[in-house]
Amino acid sequence: MNVYQFHPQVAYGDAASNQVLSLQHLLKDMGYRSEVFCEQQPFLFEGKTRPIPQYERHSSPENVLLLHFTMDYSSAVMSWLEKIPDRKVLIYHNITPHTYLAGINEPLAEAARRGRSQLARLKDICDAGWGVSAFNCRELAQRGWTNLAVLPIVFDPQRYAVRPDRTVLNRYRDGSPTILFVGRVAPNKCLEDLILSFFYLKRFMRPDARLLLVGAQGGMERYSAFLQKLVHTLSLPDVVFAGHVSNAELMAYYRCASVYLSLSEHEGFGVPLLESMHFGLPTIAYKAAAIPETLGNSGVLVNEKNYPAIAELINLLIEDDALRSLIVAGQRNRVRDFLPESVAARLRALLGDLETE
């Protein structure tokens, strides 16, 4: 049995693409032949992906083809999937609800709507559905899917063994309380709530505080303009929109931060939560979607977006070293559940189940 993967658009640094590469490593280590196929290949992508037409010579009913699903598939891909005889498993990373994108990026909102409606057709095409979280599996179950399982995101510390960017370190590692959020500038991530919490921290508690927002803004120009106007109106010069950063810069931002804060309302998993835990940052997150599941029994969850209270909580975590250490220790234990060896065991079991079916 060979295990191949399909992801329509592989890209540098996004969670789904990293998962594709991590699974490829695990599958090869397990002795499977494993290639990655995609519709659009970026220039010199490290995983050496192949275009879909080349799959024809590999296609066989003996294969398992893992289909990564993050938004929607083109009609050409849907027809191709219906034709090939391979056993298919949907890897569901979840789709941002289109309601968040309306008014901000209409084509993306439409793609999100289309993607959710494609889940019904994919149910008939696929043999199984593996969510990267139980939250994702629950959504598939609500849409009539059966044969569901959780295959979590692989967290490979090797990916983070990069020397942090010195320019970022020199600029931001100055002892000021620094709040960090990492993720696309997207409305479901509610960056305005981060800014409001930061407003209370800066205005009433820590005038020397800084908020670092690290993530690409492409396609979200209208939302980005709204956030920048908000920052300007609230007179918060210490909010930094870092944009898309290199791996070395990302490492540096994590090392400059005091607390990681996420008030996102929709995450299919939330890789930056694991990253912040790996880098020893106390992590505060809003309890929504897959976030509590990713944190497990670690970190701090807030059920209400009470901005002054969140600011006070951040301040407490900055000042109380003992509390901070306790929380960070719990988080480090949680990260172990997502290490390659843990996910490999899960993947081996799931593939074993497929073989016996």
């Binding site: 120009e221 109106t233 609230l234 701090v300 807030v302 059920n303």
Partner: protein
Amino acid sequence: MTDLLENDDWLEIRDPDVDAAEVAERVRERMAAREDLPQAEGSEKDPRALVDDLRRQMIDRDTNGDGLPIDERDCDVVPRNYVIDWRVPILGPVHALVRRLINAEIRRYLMPALEKQSYLNRQMLRLLDDLLQENKRLVQEIDELRGDRR
């Protein structure tokens, strides 16, 4: 706003080594000690209202279904923040220079065409909007004429 803290469940720490109730209580005490902190949602100093206003101005659309489902903001198709994402492992300065040159060249080639397209989109939008209004006016006029004949 602090009144929300009357709810004990606002904070959740599942780690058995951390006393969540104690942390929540410490947060509550610290907030109570801050006299300048706004005490209720909707107060004059509440920045949430500012967020709602800005959202209405900058993001929310007119959803009464009377007009076109697009507006001038949709006409601009120029990717103004785009930079090429290229991670070829060439030593820093050479990499940066090559990336800058490629970015500049792509922009030089594409931007004028996309600016023209954005201009055309805006003109088309105005024309469509005018036609829509004209159509509405004519429909109304026809209805009135039909009414007169009866």
